[in-house]
């Protein structure tokens, strides 16, 4: 009986630790609302740590093209994202025209993009740390793939 309890505690502890690790980089939130009558509406909240983890399982040949395009910009990314993390929250860019409203802001450690146009309302929030990890993962995709 005690053995079972110990096993149960061990399993619970592992689950809690795993959950904490998954949630350690915050959550990604993607919400799409299509304005037409039969439009799609969905909202997804995912632990952001899943993204770089998942990228590790993507074959490098699938990421080779994106990796090659990203690598020249990595010094800027490596400077920009930590600098953005240190900045206070606020609106970075806002574009308003008759057909569209785009807002890019930093809120609570995440970069938030809101787009409201004639057809859709889209909200995307990505934790900066997870975004940095994911970008680095893509950029580091095997550049010896050709060999």
């Amino acid at each position: 009986m005690f053995l079972l309890a110990k096993v149960g505690i061990g399993i619970m502890g592992t689950v809690v630790a795993g959950g904490a690790m998954l949630c350690s980089e915050g959550f990604m939130h993607v919400k799409v609302h299509e304005k037409q009558a039969d439009g799609t509406n969905f909202s997804i909240v995912l632990p952001a740590a899943l993204v770089p983890m998942t990228l590790k399982f993507v074959p490098n040949r699938k990421l080779a093209d994106a990796s090659a395009k990203l690598r020249p910009y990595m010094p800027v990314v490596d400077a920009a994202i930590p600098a953005l993390e240190d900045c206070p929250d606020g609106v970075l860019v806002e574009v308003t025209d008759p057909g569209e409203h785009v807002l890019i802001a930093k809120r609570g450690g995440s970069i938030v993009v809101d787009v409201n146009d004639g057809n859709d309302v889209v909200h995307v929030a990505v934790p900066l740390r997870a975004a940095h990890s994911a970008i680095r993962e893509i950029a580091a995709a095997n550049d010896t793939e050709a060999f």
Partner: protein, 195 residues
């Protein structure tokens, strides 16, 4: 009781000082472009600390390591730093005034700032351009360069110490552009309307 009465004012002073020191001293570069005729508006708010860290990392075109290559100034015997140093010690007043049929240009030194005012009479929209550069920023542009460069990174650092100032203002019939520095994180923005 006497100890509490003595300590309380000191505690208030200490906490107030901590709050003041901890208050945000972040400086922001704001850009606003408005085109009322087409109901378009663009607002950009960039923390200067962010720009200071990112600019040196950008290698694109003529921008490298925080400096922009601007041509053959040294080959043409133009020493920008010497000119700016001379202008800094010169008394305030107008240095250059040019009036032509299609434009008026005025370059002056006022209140420790370099002022450039251009009226473009020839264009359809009749643009007015005002550029105001604090002297420390102007000198920073020419600091630590080889003569054919302007030091954008140093200028941004100097801007952080400059007061609230409108750097560029462009007004025309079609649109207005304003670039300024202050400590506000937003230059007012409309809230997202979710339909």
């Amino acid at each position: 009781m006497r100890i509490i009465k003595t300590a309380l004012p000191l505690l208030v002073v200490f906490l107030t000082g901590t709050m003041v020191m901890g208050a945000s001293s972040d400086r922001y570069l704001h850009i606003r472009v408005s085109n009322p005729g087409q109901n378009e508006q663009v607002r950009v708010n960039v923390p200067l600390a962010f720009a200071e860290k990112v600019i040196p990392a950008i290698t694109s075109g003529e921008l490298r390591n925080g400096k922009v290559h601007v041509g053959h100034l040294s080959a043409n015997s133009v020493n920008l730093k010497v000119i700016l140093d001379a202008l800094k010690t010169a008394p305030e007043g107008e240095f250059v005034t040019v009036q032509e049929n299609d434009s008026d240009v005025r370059v002056a030194k006022e209140h420790g700032q370099l002022i450039v005012h251009v009226v473009d009479k020839g264009s359809k929209d009749k643009e007015n351009v005002d550029v105001t550069i604090p002297w420390d920023v102007a000198l920073a542009l020419s600091s630590d360069t080889d003569g054919d460069q302007i030091n954008v990174e140093a200028a941004i650092k100097a801007l952080e110490n400059a007061g609230d100032v409108t750097l560029v203002s462009v007004t025309s019939q079609a649109e207005t552009v304003r670039i300024w520095i202050d400590s506000s994180s937003t230059a007012e923005h409309t809230s997202m309307l979710k339909k």
